[in-house]
């Protein structure tokens, strides 16, 4: 767990594992792109660490996505479900 005090009721969810898998990026490759240790990417994915605004922006720049597409207060719907629903409209 990250040692930083945080509100239990306000978690930050992210889509890092899905986005990495989609682009074939290892944790080490993403870590190198945003200049952190690969273990920090692992901690972000497990929810053990919440990123600073700076790190969040750097991660979003790698995926070329807005912050809200990568991080959210609410749990993300699986991408496949979201794509299917949007495609079915």
């Amino acid at each position: 767990m990250s040692p930083v005090r945080r509100g239990e009721e306000l978690p930050i969810h992210n889509r890092l594992p899905v986005l990495r898998a989609e682009r074939g990026l290892s944790r080490a490759a993403l870590a190198a792109a945003v200049e952190v240790n690969p273990q920090t990417i692992g901690a972000l994915e497990r929810g053990d660490h919440y990123p600073s605004l700076d790190l969040a922006f750097r991660i979003c720049a790698v995926f070329d996505l807005p912050v809200e597409a990568v991080f959210s207060r609410e749990p993300f719907t699986p991408l496949s479900t979201q794509v299917y629903r949007e495609g079915g409209k």
Binding site: A21, G24, S26, A28, P38, Q39
Partner: protein
């Protein structure tokens, strides 16, 4: 005058590069030991080593010199070897400069440094009380210095101990090299 800072800065950068390479090598050492359970065992050994040093300092006058020597030698070996291993297993957070750490690692270091500082302050208070108690006894300055040394060594091992105790198991996926498929 301007050449000196430049040369120093270049030297410093080279040193940091060397440390970074060393840490990268150390991050791959002892792969089967990189679990919380194993680190906690090492922390327990370090604590036993610290207690042996303190016990050695406490019996310095009451017992023969060889008892002190055995306790201190035992404490140094029993505490020193696991502490060295813990520093390898806790990686950059326990042995690198802040500049080489990322935000998560800095948070961890700030936390364990604070705990270490608090513990050391209490240990020094204990050392002062010990000095006051033995002040009028023979060799009080020598014995006090040995006790303060034992407490100082004990306090200095706290940050790495807290790190080793608290960090989660290493995730093998973190060590998949750049370019390899996740």
């Amino acid at each position: 005058m301007t050449a000196k800072p430049g040369r120093f800065a270049a030297y410093w950068e080279a040193q940091l590069g060397r440390i970074e390479q060393l840490e990268a090598k150390r991050a791959k050492k002892l792969p089967t030991w990189r679990t919380r359970k194993r680190r906690r065992q090492l922390v327990a050994l370090v604590m036993v080593g610290d207690l042996l040093l303190i016990a050695g300092a406490a019996v310095l006058r009451a017992q023969e010199q060889w008892v002190f020597a055995v306790l201190w030698f035992g404490g140094c070996v029993l505490g020193g070897v696991p502490h060295h291993l813990l520093r390898i297993l806790t990686g950059k957070m326990s042995s690198s400069f802040s500049r080489q750490l990322d935000e998560r690692e800095r948070e961890w270091r700030h936390r364990v440094t604070y705990v270490g500082y608090q513990t050391l302050a209490y240990l020094m208070i204990a050392g002062v009380i010990y000095l006051l108690v033995i002040a009028k006894q023979a060799d009080s300055a020598y014995r006090g210095a040995i006790m303060i040394t034992a407490l100082l060594i004990g306090g200095a091992t706290v940050p790495t101990g807290v790190l080793g105790w608290s960090l989660p198991d290493d995730d093998p996926e973190d060590f998949i090299a750049e370019g390899e498929a996740p």
